[in-house]
Symmetry: C2
Subunit: 138 residues, 2 copies
């Protein structure tokens, strides 16, 4: 999804389009690996010097709300974000370069059904994330 579509989403939800938001959106949208707030700050500031770190936090919060980005959980920490996949998709992360790929997660139905049967739990949501080496780093 192009950055313009993200800005449109923001506008449609009653948010104003500012230079700060443009810089953050463009940065996150075009990066294919997970970024921490500080990384976003450093990168986006090259587009808009006056940007403040606080605004990065606030913008990421809104983008997550609108499901345009998602939080990435990793052994090293869980503060990073990445452009969200479309529909219900899961992340596959390269442990060397961080490159992210998405894949569909519908194939879990069978597994979760079996687990529901075994545990007595009613399963409502699942988180799946894979780690490995991308074609380049392999």
């Amino acid at each position: 999804m192009p950055a313009d579509a993200w800005l449109e989403q923001l506008r449609d939800n009653g948010y104003r389009l500012t230079k700060a938001r443009r810089a953050v959106v463009e940065t996150v949208e075009k990066t294919t690996r997970a970024l921490t707030p500080v990384e976003v700050f450093d990168m986006a500031r090259k587009k808009y010097r006056a940007l403040g770190l606080v605004t990065v936090y606030r913008t990421l919060e809104k983008l997550e709300e609108l499901r345009l980005i998602q939080r990435v959980h990793q052994p090293q920490g869980c503060q990073a974000f990445i452009a969200a996949g479309v529909g219900h998709q899961h992340l596959l992360l390269c442990q060397n370069c961080g490159q992210a790929a998405f894949f569909d997660g519908d194939d879990l139905e069978m597994l979760t059904n079996a687990i529901a049967r075994n545990t007595g739990y009613q399963i409502q949501d699942h988180w799946l994330q894979l780690f490995g080496l991308c074609a380049n780093c392999r």
Copy 2:
């Protein structure tokens, strides 16, 4: 696994058995939901008043090292820990009461193989967590 076995593991790895460690181990081992460091601190201090929060952090670090506990990732945060399952197991958490259950994750082989084929990634690790309602809360 009983708390004594955890203490034995600590001793076998060259760590001393202290009142502080006993209190932390007993707390985490017998609780079946994920606890944050502060929660562990509050609970363990009932067993050993002089306990310090710093020691809780240090003990949790060692228990994680020895794979006796594992970090629990949740939408609200990723600072909580729980007694680890045996072997390669995944977590199923009750969204109401926090009650945790474990299940085997070997059934993912087929899925990960298919994804490796599709993406060109060499998959090395996976991370799966389910959320739902336990039999009681349902």
